[in-house]
C-alpha cells in the first residue's frame, strides 16, 4: 500500500509499505478515505516528540471503510463507513471505565503518562497512523463508530480530533453565562474552541493570533473579537485594557509546543528541543485570565519540562485544566450540534491534497503558506 513515511525532522515521503494485518482478535483494518494533518503532527514533523522513528506513518485524524475484522469483533463489519477517534483505547481499564478514554492504560507500553494515539510516535504507543491507504485499528468494538448517512466526509474527519478537542477545551473552561473567554491560537482547535464557547453561554469571545488570515476566519467562522498580538507591545496588557483591567474569566491555550511570540522560548523549544514545548501561549493565558479564573490547555506539549509560569498561576488562584480529548464521549452531542446547524466543521478546510503530495502539504501547513488552516489528505484508493 502507499503510505506517508517519516524520514527525519522536516522530511517525509510516500512509499510502498506492507499492508497492516490483524494482530489481535479485536483489531480491524480500515481503508482510509480521508485523513487530516493536525497541528500536533507538526511537532512530530519537526522532531520535537521523543521516540519518533524513521519509517513511522503519522496521522491520527482519519475516517474510512472497514476492510477486515478480527475474530472477536462484533460491532463493525467489512464495508462499514467508520470514523475513528484519535485515541487508541481498550474500553475496560480503570481510566476507560470512568470515561477517560484518552488516558487508557492498556494500549501504550512505552509510557504510563499518556494513552495510545494513532501515528504519534512510540511515546504514544508505536501505532502507525492513517495518512496511508490502510490502517490497523485496535479495539474495533470500542473506538470506531459508523458515520451517520447525513454526515459528509470532511465533517466526519474533523470530528475525530480537531472539533472534539476544541469543544472539549471549551468545556474544561467551565464557562458560565456571560463569561469572557479568550482563546490563544486561531488554528483549527482554537476556532472550534471559540465557536464552542458561545454554545456554553460565553458573553464575549476573544481570539489571539499573529496570522491575519486566521484571525479573519476567527471573526467570520467563530464570530470572535480578534487581536493580532504582533500589533501590541504586550498582549497581556492589551487583554487587561479591553476587560476593564479584570482579565478574562477563562483562557484557552490552543497553540501548544511551538508557540511564537517569544524568540528565546520558541528557539529553545521548537528548534533546539531543550524544552518540552514553548509555553508562550500558556504563559499569556495564565497572565491574561483573572484571579480565580480557569485556564484550559488544549495545545499539545512534549513530555519534557517547559518554562511555565506556575508562580503566577498559584498566586492568582487559577484552576488549570487539561487533557487529551476523550473523543468518542463528545460525539453524540456534537452530532446534534452539526445536525442542528450550530456547527459546520468543514468550513475551516482550506486544502485538499492527494496522499502522493503529502510532503508539500506538511510544508505548506507548517510554514503557514497559502492561507492554510486545515489540510485534508485524500489517499489514492479513496
Amino acid at each position: 500500500m502507499r503510505a506517508m513515511v517519516y524520514r527525519g525532522p522536516y522530511r517525509l515521503r510516500v512509499e510502498e509499505k506492507d499492508r497492516p494485518t490483524i494482530e489481535h482478535p479485536n483489531d480491524a483494518i480500515v481503508r482510509v478515505t480521508r485523513a487530516a494533518i493536525c497541528g500536533s503532527d507538526l511537532h512530530l514533523y519537526h522532531g520535537m516528540m521523543p521516540d519518533t522513528r524513521v519509517g513511522m506513518t503519522f496521522g491520527h485524524e482519519f475516517i474510512g471503510v472497514v476492510d477486515e475484522v478480527g475474530s472477536s469483533v462484533r460491532n463493525v463489519k467489512p464495508g462499514d463507513r467508520v470514523m475513528v477517534p484519535f485515541n487508541v483505547y481498550c474500553g475496560s481499564c480503570f481510566f476507560c471505565a470512568r470515561g477517560l478514554f484518552s488516558n487508557c492504560h492498556n494500549v501504550n507500553p512505552n509510557a504510563t503518562a499518556v494513552g495510545g494515539i494513532y501515528g504519534y510516535s512510540h511515546t504514544c504507543g508505536g501505532y502507525d497512523g492513517g495518512q496511508a491507504e490502510f490502517v490497523r485499528v485496535p479495539f474495533a468494538d470500542v473506538g470506531p463508530s459508523p458515520i451517520p448517512d447525513w454526515m459528509d466526509d470532511d465533517d466526519a474527519v474533523l470530528l475525530t480530533d480537531a472539533l472534539a478537542t476544541g469543544y472539549f477545551g471549551a468545556q474544561l473552561g467551565d464557562i458560565v453565562e456571560g463569561d469572557v473567554v479568550v482563546v490563544f491560537g486561531a488554528g483549527p482547535v482554537g476556532l472550534f474552541a471559540a465557536k464552542s464557547a458561545w454554545l456554553m453561554g460565553a458573553g464575549r469571545v476573544i481570539v489571539i493570533d499573529h496570522l491575519d488570515y486566521r484571525l479573519e476566519k476567527a471573526a467570520s467562522f467563530a464570530h470572535a473579537e480578534t487581536y493580532n498580538f504582533a500589533e501590541y507591545d504586550d498582549i497581556v496588557v492589551q487583554m487587561k485594557k479591553i476587560t476593564d483591567h479584570l482579565g478574562a474569566d477563562v483562557a484557552i491555550d490552543a497553540v501548544g509546543a511551538e508557540a511564537d511570540g517569544n524568540f528565546l522560548q520558541h528557539v529553545t523549544a521548537a528548534k533546539l528541543k531543550l524544552q518540552g514545548g514553548s509555553p508562550v501561549a500558556l504563559n499569556w493565558a495564565i497572565d491574561s485570565v483573572r484571579k480565580g479564573g480557569t485556564v484550559s490547555v488544549m495545545g499539545a506539549y512534549g513530555p519534557m519540562f517547559s518554562a511555565v509560569k506556575f508562580g503566577d498561576a498559584l498566586n492568582k488562584g487559577l484552576t488549570l485544566r487539561m487533557n487529551q480529548c476523550p473523543v468518542k464521549r463528545q460525539w453524540p452531542r456534537l452530532f446534534e450540534h452539526i445536525r442542528n446547524g450550530h456547527l459546520k466543521p468543514s468550513d475551516i478546510v482550506t486544502h485538499r491534497i492527494p496522499l502522493e503530495h503529502i510532503a508539500e502539504a506538511y510544508h505548506i501547513f507548517s510554514a503557514k503558506l497559502d492561507g492554510c488552516i486545515k489540510p485534508i489528505i485524500v489517499p489514492n484508493a479513496a
Binding site: 522530511r11 471505565a97 477517560l100 495510545g116 458561545w198 483573572r290 450550530h342 510554514a367
Partner: protein, 191 residues
C-alpha cells in the same frame, strides 16, 4: 473593574447574543456537556466485552516503560528498534523512568541517530533520500511562499532565515566530520 465589586457589563445582552450567534447557550447547562462530570464510572458503555483484553502476541522483546507492571495487552508494532538508535532506545527504556529527563533526552538523541542511519541506509536502496522532495520545500514556488511570508505582521518572520540553518546545520556538520575522517584515513594509508 477589579477595584470594585461588580463585574464589567457586557456590550451585548443575552437576547442579542442569542440572535447573533447560532446555537448560543444550547450547552449552558453543564448537564448537557459530555465532559461533565470528568469521571463517570460505567464500564458497560464503551463496547468492551472483556474485563481485561486478550493479549496481542509479542513478536520481539517490546521496549516498555519501567513504570508499567507488565507489557500492555495491546501495543503498536511500527518500526522495531534497529541499529545504534535502537540500542540507545532500549537502554533508555530499561534504565530510566518517564520522570527522568535522561529518558527523554536519550530518546531524542536516538531519534537524531535514527535519522542519520535511515539516510545512510537509503543510499543502499533504489530510493535514496531526497531533501528537495522530502521537505516539500518546492511548494514555496507553487503555493505563494514569499507572499505568504511577507503578508501581515507574522512574528515568525524573525526566525524564517535561521530555520533552514538550524535544520541543515547538523547534516552539514556531520558531512564535514565524515569528510575529515575519510581524508585522515586515506592520508594515513598513503603515508
Amino acid at each position: 473593574m477589579p477595584y470594585t465589586p461588580d463585574k464589567p457589563k457586557l456590550a451585548e445582552s443575552t437576547d442579542e447574543l442569542r440572535a447573533r450567534i447560532p446555537g448560543w447557550g444550547v450547552d449552558l447547562d453543564p448537564r448537557d456537556r459530555p465532559a461533565v462530570p470528568r469521571e463517570r464510572f460505567d464500564p458497560s458503555l464503551n463496547g468492551a466485552h472483556w474485563e481485561f483484553p486478550e493479549r496481542q502476541p509479542e513478536k520481539w522483546p517490546r521496549e516498555m516503560s519501567i513504570e508499567h507492571k507488565f507489557l500492555t495487552p495491546v501495543f503498536g508494532t511500527s518500526c522495531p528498534p534497529r541499529g545504534l538508535s535502537g540500542m540507545i532506545r532500549r537502554y533508555s527504556y530499561r534504565t530510566y523512568s518517564e520522570g527522568r529527563a535522561a529518558h527523554w533526552l536519550l530518546l531524542l538523541a536516538a531519534d537524531r541517530v535514527d535519522a542519520v542511519e535511515g539516510t545512510l541506509l537509503s543510499f543502499l536502496t533504489r530510493h535514496p533520500d531526497n531533501p528537495l522532495t522530502e521537505t516539500g520545500v518546492l511548494s514555496e514556488f507553487t503555493h505563494h511562499g514569499l507572499s505568504s511570508r511577507l503578508r501581515g505582521k507574522r512574528v515568525d518572520r524573525v526566525h524564517h532565515l535561521i530555520d533552514p540553518v538550524i535544520v541543515a546545520a547538523p547534516w552539514v556538520l556531520a558531512g564535514g566530520v565524515a569528510y575529515l575522517a575519510v581524508r585522515r584515513v586515506v592520508r594515513s594509508r598513503k603515508g
